[in-house]
C-alpha cells in the first residue's frame, strides 16, 4: 500500500526520511517495506497491537536492530548502517534503564561527562533539566527512592541532556498506573512542544496516541496501515483495521449495490463505494456516536434511516450505549451512543422501537478483511 502523508505541516522540512525499510528475523518479516517521513519538531506515534512491528521500527531508527534493507536519512544524512553511538538521538525505554547505583543527577549527567564540558557547566545543565521535568529537589536521590513517574521523568531528562535532534520513546508510560499516566501525557506533550524536539513514540495505547501525537502511524503485521493526524485517523480511517483498532466501530457485512449505494440485509443505504464493483462484498462501518436518533414526531422519510428495536442498554455515565436490532438488517446488531437527553425524549427502554439514521458521510465502506 502506498503511504500518504496526509497531515504534514506545509512549512516544515522532512527531518527523518525512511524509505522501504524491511527487517527480517530469520524467515519472519517484522517490517515489510515501510516508508515514512517525519517533519522537524513533529510528535509522531507508532500505534498498533503487540507484534505489529512498531518497536522493531523504532529500534531500526535508533540503530539498535539495524534493518535488513531500506534506508534511513536523518537531517539529510544517510544513517542506515550506522551503529547507535554514531547517530543523534536520545531514548527512553519502558523500563527507563536508569543506572541504579547512580543518583538522579548523576544519571542525567552521564551523557554530559567525558565531553569536554566543565563541571560547573554540567551541574548547571543538570539543574536546568531537573527544573524542566519538574523535579528540582530530587537530584540526590537514587532511582529506587523515586516513584515510577519520577523515574520516568529522570529518564526523559537524561535522554534530553545532550540536546539530541531526535527523541525516541519506547512505551514510556506503560509501566505507570492510569492516573500518573494521564498526568504525564500532558506534561510530556507540553515539554516536547516547548523544546520543539522531533519525537517518535511507540505505544499500544490509542488514547495516548490520540492525545499526544501530531500524527499517528497505525501499524499492523509489519506494514503501515495509515498515517494521519489524530482526527484523520479517527474520523477517516483508511482501512478496516484502523477503523476497528481506533475507538468503537460497528461493522456490518453488505454488498455494493450501485455507484453510491450498498445493501445491508434487506435495506439499501446511500454510501461511498470507492469504485468497488457492483455486488462486491463489503464491510460497512459506523461509529456508535455517529448513529443519529430521529425525533419520533418527524414523519419525513429521511435518507438512510431505519426502525430498530432496543435490545439492551448500558449506562456509561454521560451517555447510554444501546444495542439495536432490526429484522431488516438480518443477524447484525448496532451499537449507538445516545445522550441522556435523547433517551429521555425518545422514551427509550429495552424492547421499545426507535428510528435512527446512519448519515452517509459517516458511513465507511471497506473490502472485507483478508480480501486484499
Amino acid at each position: 500500500m502506498t503511504v500518504q502523508n496526509k497531515g504534514e505541516p506545509g512549512s516544515a522540512k522532512p527531518y527523518l526520511q525512511i524509505d522501504r525499510l524491511t527487517k527480517k528475523f530469520g524467515n519472519f518479516v517484522a517490517l515489510d517495506s515501510v516508508s515514512l517521513e517525519v517533519y522537524e519538531g513533529e510528535f509522531i506515534c507508532f500505534l498498533g497491537p503487540s507484534g505489529c512491528g512498531k518497536t522493531t521500527f523504532l529500534r531500526a531508527i535508533a540503530g539498535l536492530d539495524i534493518q535488513t534493507s531500506g534506508t534511513v536519512m536523518q537531517d539529510g544524512a544517510d544513517i542506515s548502517a550506522l551503529p547507535p553511538a554514531e547517530r543523534d538521538f536520545g531514548i527512553v525505554f519502558q523500563s527507563y534503564a536508569l543506572f541504579p547505583n547512580l543518583t538522579a543527577e548523576r544519571n542525567i549527567a552521564f551523557g554530559l561527562e567525558n565531553q569536554k564540558v566543565g563541571k560547573s557547566a554540567i551541574d548547571k545543565r543538570v539543574n536546568e533539566l531537573l527544573e524542566l521535568v519538574g523535579l528540582p529537589d530530587q537530584g540526590p536521590k537514587y532511582p529506587a527512592q523515586l516513584s515510577g513517574g519520577q523515574q520516568q521523568r529522570i529518564a526523559l531528562a537524561r535522554a534530553l541532556a545532550t540536546s539530541p535532534g531526535l527523541l525516541l520513546l519506547d512505551e514510556p508510560l506503560s509501566a505507570l498506573d492510569a492516573k500518573v499516566r494521564s498526568h504525564l501525557r500532558h506534561e510530556m506533550k507540553a515539554l516536547q512542544r516547548r523544546l520543539g524536539v522531533t519525537t517518535v513514540m511507540v505505544t499500544h495505547d490509542q488514547e495516548e496516541a490520540l492525545t499526544m501525537a501530531d500524527r499517528i502511524v497505525v501499524m499492523n503485521h509489519g506494514v503501515i496501515e495509515q498515517v494521519g493526524t489524530p482526527t484523520q485517523i479517527y474520523r477517516e480511517p483508511d482501512t478496516l483495521f484502523v477503523a476497528d483498532f481506533i475507538g468503537a466501530m460497528n461493522q456490518v457485512s453488505g454488498r455494493v449495490n450501485s455507484d453510491d449505494r450498498i445493501t445491508i440485509g434487506e435495506l439499501s443505504f446511500k454510501s461511498r463505494t470507492h469504485g468497488l464493483a457492483s455486488d462486491a462484498p463489503v464491510v460497512a462501518a459506523i461509529r456508535p456516536e455517529d448513529i443519529v436518533p430521529r425525533d419520533p414526531r418527524d414523519e419525513s422519510e429521511a435518507e438512510n434511516s431505519l426502525e430498530v428495536e432496543i435490545d439492551d442498554m448500558e449506562f456509561l455515565g454521560s451517555f447510554w450505549r444501546v444495542s439495536l436490532k432490526s429484522s431488516a438488517l438480518g443477524e447484525a446488531s448496532l451499537m449507538a451512543d445516545l445522550s441522556i437527553n435523547a433517551t429521555r425524549t425518545l422514551a427509550a427502554e429495552v424492547g421499545s422501537t426507535i428510528r435512527v439514521a446512519l448519515p452517509a458521510d459517516r458511513l465507511w465502506v471497506f473490502p472485507p478483511a483478508g480480501s486484499l
Binding site: S69, R87, F110
Partner: protein, 668 residues
Amino acid sequence: MTELADTAPAAPLIKPKTSKDDRIMVGFILVICLYLLITLAFPLYAMLSKSFSTYAFDLTNFEFQVNAGDGWSEPFSAAEQNDKIQKFKPKDLVTSSDGRLATTEFFPDFSFRSPTLYRLRQVRGDTSFLFGTERVDDTEWHEYSSNDFRRIVIRASGDTGLDNFRTYFSTPALFRSIENSLFISFLSTIITVSLAFGFAYALNRSTMRFKGLFKLVAMIPILVPSLLPGIALVYLFGNQGMIKGLLFGESIYGPIGIVIGSVFFTFPHALIIITTALAISDSRLYEAATALRASRWRTFWTVTIPGARYGLISAAFVVFNLVITDFGLPKVIGGQYNMLAVDIYKQVIGQQNFEMGAVVSVVLLIPALLAFGVDRYVQKKQVAQLSARSVPYVPKPHRQFDRICLAYCSLVAVFIVGLIAVCQYAALIKFWPYNLSLSLDNYNFEVMDGGGWDSYTNSIQLGLYTALIGTVVVFVGAYMVEKVNGFFTTRSAFQFLAMMPMAIPGMVLGLAYIFFFNNPDNPLNAIYGTLAIMVICTVTHFYTVSHLTAVTALKQMDREFEAVAASLKQPFQRLFARVTVPVCLPSILDISIYLFVNAMTTVSAVIFLYSPDTTLASVAVLNMDDAGDIAPAAAMGMMIFYTNVGARLIHQFVSRKLVRTTQAWRGG
C-alpha cells in the same frame, strides 16, 4: 499495485557498520577465546594425540657388520639377529617415548675387551640411535670399537594407533579400575543425594531450631581438600584407629573409606543444588493437596519429589562427577583399590608411562563428559520451571516432625564436625597412639617432606593470584559475550569453550598441561614449573562455575543500559566501570572467594605441575601422608581449613562494607 512493486527497484540491503564498542568487545572475546584455547583446547588435543602415539624399536631398520679380525661379515639386520638368538618377543619391543635398547643385547658373547670391531647403520633415516649422548639419525655406516659399541643405544620410533588402548584393555589391573570407579561413584552418589535431600528437606520444610548453624556446618567440607576426610578416617578406623572395632574387621583402606570420604566432601555440593530445587516449590500446590485431604506421605511423593526431581538429578550427576574425578581421597585411603584418577597418577608419576596416563585420562573423560552433558540438560529444564510465578512455601510448626528433623540434622552435623575435629586432634598430639600429650610439633613442616611452610605461602599466593586474575578474566569475558552485538559464531565458540572446563577432570587437565607446556617446541615452555602455570591451570579448571555466576549477575541487569550509553555517546568501558562493576560487585566477590577456596584445596590438576620451588599446601598434605607423616598432613590440612574460614570471614566483612558504601541505592 503488486505489479508496480515488482518493477520498482529493490530497497538497498544494509550491511550494518560495526561500532567501535563492538569491535573492542569482540577483540576482548577473541583474546579470552585464545586464552581458553591455549589453556584448555590445545593441551587436551596434545593429550588425545599422546594417547594414540605408540613407541616401539624398529629392529628392521638397524643393520650390523662385525669384524672379529677375519674381515667384515655380510650386513645383517637387528631383526634377523633377534630371530636367530630369540632374545626379544614382539611385546618386549613396545616401549614409551623414552625407551632405549642397548645394541650389545644382540650379541650374547659381547665383551668390551675383545678386539672385535662393529659397524652399524640405519636403512632409513626415520629412526635414531645414541652414541653416548650424541644422536645419530643418518644412513651412513658407523664403525666402533667394542669398547665404544657398548655405549650405543637404539631409540624407539613413534607411530600412531590404538595399541595403547589395546594394552589398556588387555591389562586387567588397569581396566578393573573402570568398574571400581563406577561402583564407588554410584554408591557415593546414592548415599550423598539421599542424605543431602533429607538435610535440605529438614531445612526447608521444618521449623526446627539452629537452621543457620546447620547451614554453616554443612558447608565446611567445601573448605578442605577432599583428602582430609581420608586422614580423619585413618585415625578413626585405620590399623590403630580410635574406633576401629566398629568396622568388624573390615579395612577402611578401600571402598569403605573412599565412599565415606566421598560422601563427606560431596555433601555440600549436593545440598546447595537440592536446597535450591526445594526452595522454588510452590506453596499453592501444598494448599491444594491439603484441601484434597491428601496424606503427608502422598503429598511428599506427588508434590515434593516431582517438584525437586530436576534438582535431584542434577545433584546426582554433580556428585557422580566429583567422585569419579577425585584423586586425593582414593590416594589417601584407597589402599590397593584402584580408581581411574589414581591410575593416571600412578602411570605418570610412578611408572613415567605418559602414553598410558593419557589413555586412562581419555577413559576417565567419557563418564565425566556424559555426567556433564546430562547435568547441563537438566539445569536448563530447571530454569524453565523457576520462571513460573510461585508462592514460596512457609513451613508450619509440627513438634514431632521438627524433633525428627533436628535429630537427623544433628547426626549429619556430628559426622561433618567429627571428621574435622579428629583431624585437628591428630594434628595436635605428639604421637598417636603412644604419646597423647599435646604439642605443636606437627606444625614444624620444615622437617617433613612436602615443602615446609613455603608450600603454605605458595598456596596463599596461588589462591590470591587465581582469585584476582581469574575474576578479572571471567567477569570481563562474561560481560563481553553477553553485551556484544552480532558476531554469533564468535560468541557461541566462546560459550562452548567457557562450559568445557566443567567437563574436564582435574587430573586430565594437569596431565594435558604436561604434554602441551612441557614440549620444548612450545614457546610457552618457559612457564612450565612456575607458579604462573598453576594459576593458569586453576583459573581454567574452575572457569565454568565462575562464568555462570557472572552471566547470571549480568542477565539481571537491564539489557538496555548499553543502548542508553550508546545514545549518550558514552563508550562501553565507562558504563562498565561506573555501573556494571559496582552493581555486580557482590557477584564479583563471590567469584573471587570461590576461586580462592578452590585454589587452596585443589590437588588433582596441580599435582602434575608443581616444582620443588612451587610446592603447595594441598599437595604437601598428600605427600606427607604418602611419606607416613600423617599427623603433619592433618596439621597442614587444618591450616588450609582455617585459611579458608578466614578468607570467607574477610569476604563477608568486605562484602557487607562494600554493600553499605557503594550500594546505598539497594535499600530503596
